[in-house]
Amino acid sequence: MDGSIAPDGTIIDTWTVAGRTFSSRLIVGTGRYKDLEETGRAIEASGAEIVTVAVRRVNLSDAGAPMLQDYVDPKKYTYLPNTAGCFTAKDAVRTLRLAREAGGWNLVKLEVLGPPPLLYPDMQGTFEAAEALIKDGFEVMVYCADDPLAARRLQDMGCVAIMPLGAPIGSGLGLQNPAMIAMMMEHVTVPFLVDAGVGTASDAAIAMELGCDAVLLNSAIAHARDPVLMARAMKAAIEAGRLAFRAGRMPRRMGADPSSPLTGLIR
């Protein structure tokens, strides 16, 4: 165990993906905020060290428009380019090759999606894209179905993190599959994250209590009434869930077990 509580109360509990070590176990998206200023403040409040970003065409009619990098400093945060909006392996690979050129790094989030309204992971496309990307030198954190066999296969191919959904992207339904998530984890030795589905702080805490290495979320913060406050709540929830996992919960029992002695009572 690489974590412990120091005499000054500091908790050291890092995790490592593709050779990079992080303290925060919360990865946040940078989409769907009111504006870039709010994006920057919410991410700061979340304490995240990794942020996901999308790759899109520049607006040629407004070349001087503010860019994400002006509000979320790539020197301070690890940018994790995604393939959101890619429905084929080919588009995902093209997108991430562009991302690597724009950013100069290999660590990426792969998602190949099925059609709306579910945007459920297209696992055949995901396998194809993962194979091509790994061959091309990428380090692939992969969004996937809650399928233990698929998870194992993706890991064997060389993916550096397995990231199943807890519920559809942006649904905010919370973890609908805690048992499957727990069972998948048994088959995976690389970092394991819940990606998608978290709606509020307790959902993130549940994922961490199950033993996930980290949680990836976006809408739960961006679509909260007060995104900056929710970002802070998520930070606390991730820490609380992680500590509870490490502490090991008490066994469940059917019936009461009093905390105060039943002897020595006055009569």
Binding site: G29, T30, G31, R32, Y33, L36, T39, T52, V53, A54, V55, R56, R57, V58, L60, A63, G64, M67, L68, Q69, Y79, P81, N82, A84, R94, R97, L98, A99, E101, A102, G103, I169, G170, L217, N218, S219, A222
Partner: protein, 74 residues
């Protein structure tokens, strides 16, 4: 000699005229569009153009270019 180049740029047909004799390079195109080269990536006919080769990558009419950057996303 042609002094203009017709490109498909992010899905739109664009004509760049007054192109100097030497032609239009990716570097030249980025200057014309006013983009910060450090924050974008360029694909020409579905092939990445490495930043180090912007100056020596010459464009010809009919080329299809994608110029992208990072935006907020989950």
């Amino acid at each position: 000699m042609h002094d203009f180049v017709t490109l498909t740029l992010n899905g739109e047909n664009r004509v760049f005229d007054g192109v100097p004799d030497g032609g239009l390079s990716v570097a030249g195109l980025l200057v014309l569009t006013g983009l910060d080269t450090r924050k974008v990536a360029v694909e020409r006919n579905e092939e990445i153009v490495p930043r180090s080769r912007y100056a020596e990558t010459w464009l010809t009419s009919g080329d299809c270019l994608e110029i992208v950057h990072f935006i907020g996303g989950g």
